[in-house]
Symmetry: C2
DNA sequence: TGTACATCAGTGAACGCGCGTTCACTGATGTAC
DNA sequence: TGTACATCAGTGAACGCGCGTTCACTGATGTAC
């Protein structure tokens, strides 16, 4: 059965329009960027009337929150994978996590932007990033704890985590600029460049 | 003579509307944030018809560019001051510059945002940040060169500059979140917190 | 010094646009009896 | 098993809004003679 046929026989009730709207929003982000992300555009992309989203989200903000949520979860998965990979290879765990973070931002620049924009609107880090057990932030802090050992004060672990997060976020935002192209080439591509910059950031250099 | 009287006798021709529009835009940014920065709002704030700006700027983008330009110049001044101050006190020059950078972003959060948004739209760092002799970026690179001495390779100075810039930008963007409030208090306020985080970033620790 | 005229820098009304949201509606679904 | 009915999840038309931009215009200024 072709996609068209499926579309033709699409029932009046969608089934999981909530999820479909979030997916549509992400598709728009990847294709046209954050500027194109209106509620109407999302409904259009999902093949539904502009009023339909209101049965699943209070307003535009709530839809955006849901999109950001999906983004943070995907980022968490990417970082967890990187951590697992790195400990197997006994390389620098922190660098691998950092690289995966920045690479995520480069693979999904518009989504990454929305993730932070939603947080900024509330002056709050996303969804208890510091509290939840399996949050991306806790993953980084856990890695620092593991690398540092027990004799290091909690406060220093916290500060190192914040410093690393800031550096990662800054690198994510900066590395999109064209001016760095020659430098990237000199280091054999994006990843080489990322590793070179990260190696200049003290707290990424500790090894397990 | 009161301000009202000045306003009443305001001549048909403005004198320096271009500059007045940029000032009005910055006032809007400080008061209402980047979301409120429309061309019409700027004209309104400057007390002029919505068509007037078109005699001074090709379009909205060009006005925004002018605003960003003013921002980058102000940031450059703040950083130059910090550098001068620090060498007088023989403290860590790089930390002082870093602190001044982040403080600027906190004093003018909306302007700081516009400065980067304008660059992002073009995928280019602002106004030849890397080329111009007195750019903020060159100031940082110069500081690194001075601290590192002649034996360090140019490439390493470049990478350290980029790493520092990323860290500063990341810290600027992160430190606005409410979650860091308790940590800031623990370090005796904003500046103490900034210094604590920066001290965890390797390349800020070198002293003259 | 006075006058004609080109140019500059404003006005204000209007354009079309896409937006977020609301509304009365209707088709589909599930449940009680 | 059938039927009545409440509820759910859509439709599509409409709302008012502020936006960027254009237009014909006009008042002020400066310059040539």
């Amino acid at each position: 059965m072709s996609t068209a046929a499926v579309a033709d026989t699409r029932p009046y009730h969608h089934g999981d329009l909530r999820r479909a709207l979030v997916d549509a929003a992400i598709r728009i982000l990847e294709r046209e960027g954050p500027g194109a992300l209106s509620l109407r555009a999302v409904a259009r992309e999902a093949g539904v009337s502009p009023a339909a989203p209101y049965h699943h989200f209070k307003d535009k903000g709530e839809l955006l929150d849901a999109v950001a949520h999906v983004g943070w979860e995907a980022l968490g998965v990417a970082m967890t994978d990187a951590k697992a990979r790195s400990s197997a290879e006994m390389g620098s765990m922190l660098t691998e996590i950092g690289v995966s973070y920045v690479q995520f931002s480069q693979d999904h620049p518009a989504l990454y932007r929305v993730m932070y924009d939603c947080s900024r609107d509330k002056d709050m880090l996303p969804e208890g990033i510091q509290d939840k057990e399996d949050s991306a932030y806790c993953l980084v802090r856990g890695a620092f704890k593991q690398v540092a050992g027990d004799e290091v004060a909690d406060m220093d672990v916290e500060l190192a985590t914040i410093a690393a997060w800031c550096a990662g976020h800054g690198l994510a935002e900066m590395s999109m600029f064209k001016q760095f192209a020659p430098l990237k080439e000199a280091f054999g591509g994006e990843e080489g460049f990322l590793r070179a910059v990260l190696s200049h950031l003290g707290m990424f250099n500790r090894k397990t």
